[in-house]
Symmetry: D2
Subunit: 351 residues, 4 copies
């Protein structure tokens, strides 16, 4: 059985395991104050083209989102997000558990527009009864989105411009950041992400690490006491160096092609996803949505699903019409090309 169900089915890049082995008996300070974390932060700042950002290493996505958002908002403020945003759907109310409403916007393709953010913020402050409503205190977007789409540089810049005008920080959830940046049609770079947001994170869990998310805070106003709030959220790993080591490996340059390993890992996942996408399209399948990243959505009938399910794991999301189901195939840094070869061969057969 080969799984294309999600992007966290395997462990980590072998280089990461090797480095953990090599450093295992080094003695270091705890809580992220070791030299590996320091070096990893340096590598990340360099890759982002920012010299004075604060970089923090956290364990997982939900934890990172709630820590960042909780560190920024005052009690009466909420966070604007696309209704399909991870914080609005799949974090068991972690944001509300910190006291804050997610101000959901009905977006398209998992994205919100600058105009939507502007309307919500302007509308709030123009309302004479504003005090009776949750005040928009920040904007949250996912890059790439939960449905695999990406914002263009122009779209990002427009959202940032709106945020700047209203004094409302922009937070980019980069749980799958690598897969977004490596998408063929992507015109956004990691430098742009750093420049066009106030705080964002680089997801390790889904792009080559055992676990770990690197938060980058570029807006000076958001830096104060972030580590206190990490600790309060249980997000300060005792052996912080485990995170530092992983991000060191991820942001070092690969010896083979000279690229940052994180990008290589993401690129591999994208390549395999595109191969699967092409196979489905060539076979005449109907793709769903506009994903350009490592999650591909295709409409299959029951017979096709049953046939593929004999050998492959993938998610059947929902019935779209009679005998038609929306299915998700997900690749990652770890997807083996030979497994994708087999899937492609089997796709040809079932159509």
């Amino acid at each position: 059985m080969v799984y294309f169900e999600c992007d966290y089915t395997e462990g980590a890049l072998p280089e990461i395991l090797q480095r953990l082995h090599d450093t295992n008996f080094e003695q270091t300070l705890g809580y992220g104050e070791d030299e590996h974390c320091a070096r990893a932060a340096q590598l990340i700042k360099s890759a982002c083209g920012v010299s004075d950002a604060d970089v923090h290493f956290l364990v997982g996505g939900t934890q990172t989102n709630s820590t960042v958002i909780n560190s920024i908002l005052r009690p009466h403020q909420g966070v604007i997000a696309c209704s399909s945003g991870h914080i609005n759907v799949h974090e068991t109310g972690a944001i509300e558990a910190c006291g804050h409403k997610v101000l959901a916007v009905c977006g398209e393709d998992g994205k919100i527009t600058a105009a939507q953010a502007d309307d919500m913020i302007s509308g709030h402050f123009a309302d004479p009864t504003a005090e009776h409503m949750v005040q928009p205190g920040m904007v949250y977007i996912s890059f790439p989105t939960e449905t695999g789409t990406i914002y263009s540089k122009a779209e990002l810049a427009a959202i940032k411009q709106v945020c700047g005008r209203h004094g409302v920080p922009l937070f980019i959830d980069g749980a799958r950041l690598g897969y977004g940046l490596m998408a063929e049609s992507c015109d956004v770079t990691l430098h742009d992400i750093a420049e066009l947001s106030d705080v964002f994170y680089i997801g390790g869990t889904k792009v080559g690490a055992l676990f770990g998310e690197a938060v980058v805070i570029t807006n000076n106003n958001l830096k104060k006491d972030f580590r206190y709030i990490m600790k309060q959220h249980g997000a300060m790993l005792a052996k912080g160096r485990i995170l530092g080591i992983q991000f060191e490996v991820l942001f070092e340059k690969d010896e083979d092609n000279g690229n940052i390993r994180y990008f290589n890992a993401a690129k591999h996942g994208i390549d395999q996803a595109m191969r699967i996408r092409e196979a489905f399209k060539s076979a005449g399948a109907e793709m769903s949505g506009k994903s350009v990243t490592n999650q591909q959505f295709v409409i299959l009938n029951e017979k096709q699903i049953n046939k593929l399910s004999e050998k492959y794991g993938f998610e059947v999301w929902e019935s779209v019409k009679e005998n038609s189901y929306l299915c998700r195939f997900c690749t990652s840094w770890a997807s083996k090309a030979e497994n994708v070869d087999k899937l492609i061969a089997d796709i040809k057969i079932i159509f």
Copy 2:
């Protein structure tokens, strides 16, 4: 430089790294629903002598404490704890951040007594103005305590009896559980811990794992929907198998001596701590407190501190009187015997 500063200066048991390597490209389900977690849970239940407990794997101690406590208390309830308890001092208010007061009891040697718990609970319900005060909703104790002491079986049984009588769950924080159970003077077993509490956790971070805490819920009333609350707390690791694999290794029997590896690891830390303790005592140093575990507290003068600091890292906690400081030396599963040899030799010299 050799560090005796804390018990999380190194990585993990080599067997753990090896297993992570061996399983790296297995494809598994996420969020702790994989076979490694299932097997680890089975091994733990077996080691605890309980067949129907729920076992959950979380990442770190603060996270575990807040998740467990938040899952149990109603909004108006607080948790009784020794004033030196980790949740009362060193978690940046993580319990309060969930809405609950820590009802601190002035204990002795880091411990509370059954009588103190009884007084607080009985006193509350006897007060006609009880509704104006936080209701004691559970009892939290650390085993071993933050100052290295341990409860006797009789003490634990007495606390459990009080808790049972009042219908108030008892939660044992076992961040360093192994070091407690392996202490020479300890008359408590892992079976006792499971029997004499409603929920407890087995700390991996400080006893051989890269990270990880295994929560064991034995009281059926506390089991419902725990995973929802884990997720909300950011405590459900995407690649949950990383935790499962580590606890599998820790709770398998070691090939050399047939003991559970977790206990072997803890025993090693204890042995080294006792050697250091004996060295100080032989040299005529004044030990502080009643620690029988891997943290040893000794009174040193400035000259002694300076001398030892040339080669060793350890914590100077506080001034106790003129030119006398309380110092902590901490060992772990990873403390090398040869380093302890060197320290012992140097202790002899400075006195």
Copy 3:
């Protein structure tokens, strides 16, 4: 200037002020444990046809909603509500501030259907990833709704049946309860409200009191420790008798017609609202929505608005099309018939 802007523009029924005067120097216990509160609770239970409900007196609507909801939900649970529900829109995130997501349902005319509630609850528990989402833990409806509509007895019974089947409590926000029950087309009685919910409240603030809401808990499982949570929410008035006295007056029978004063007060408000409604309809105005209660919504043009605004206060909610605005006229127990006469005369003139 005469105001039809909301239903809290005046003070209280003169009988309430008189009673406050008459009892002013009585000495009573604090915090709602006085005889006035006891008698008011008795009168309310009698009016509701329930003998063993718990009745608590709180100060305002937002406070009542957050106290009730907070007392019921576990941390990972949310409350299902119509997207136009007061808790979802106009309480500055008070529910989220207690840690709970409002699970908004797109209703019609301010109402949700039993089928919608059923779908949301069933859908949640059927989802294999349910643990990653907020669990529906209760259902909230407003009677009447924020737009003046009411549920029929059959609709209420159907929602209660769904709630009962899923073990999810039903909470009815009765901030304007009197105006709902006194609506001409209403087939629901106060007995029905008590029978078809698990907890509800009878709004005093908008129906004759200076302030005050009476919570009635009929479901035994929801009664425990409610007063603790009131206190924590700042909802336990020191001079609780002020609330008791007001609800005594409201639930005593009026000497003139033998009806409960609360219903008389509400009936007066409804009568005036219906007169205004008829005047607009007779004049050929387009009414908006299906309100049968004390808030009436009408479409006016700019000229009409300007003319009426010279003498009357009312709310212009939003532009509906060119030169057409949705306006709200709100009456209450305190609306003077002669003022409504004047408004009616002026309505005739402007059309």
Copy 4:
């Protein structure tokens, strides 16, 4: 039976009831935006000698404390308070429910010292592990304290100086403010209170009002969006004018002696308390504590308690030694001189 049990046994100053009657059918805006609130705020600012403070009217003490504290602190911050402080003991964890730890200081006579506050704040920031602990974010003191004592002007100034030096706001809980300011030995004025704090409140509930607390924010940094947080806490009364009217009456000058009514009301309570105190002292009773305000603490034996209990209500707090109990007699603006006469006569008899 005559009650000396607390200072909220009666209703309100007759002038307040009269004014509520006189204004009952005025139509005003809701939520504190009416002219009565505006005028009351003006009267209060004038009485405080501050021209640009923000004044808000809330309903009760617990609500006020949690709203003010929640509006100021960031998530990782706590509030320093005397261990006997109301927020630490008698608010059912309302502060923790907002996510914040009360950092209790063992004070004397219900008071903390500037040195204690300084030690706690300086100690925190000097600790290399500060991030693992709750950061002191504000200081809370009660004036008068829960045991009837008061701070001198010098003590207040010293605390304010410490707070200012650390950039930590000082909040004065004035639930019984009038009784403190009117104490004979008090060298603090309302002007001083306003000058020597960043925010404070003037308690109405216990000093002549039906209910109500007036928050005065003098520090500009603490003013922003306070009304949002009031609303979220259910602390924005729909008929806000009820609060405005009461504080108008309280802060107008009394026709008889030209003093502000609030001070007259408090002075009356103090006078009666001093008469009771003198009676006990003359009779040879042992007074407890150093209360100079309207709560007086006296040690009585069982026989004395039984005898007095036949005619008077008062609180028996605790057993202090065999057959000796600490009892509290509490007066207020409403205590009738003739009732105090009777009590004094009976005190003479029982000794």
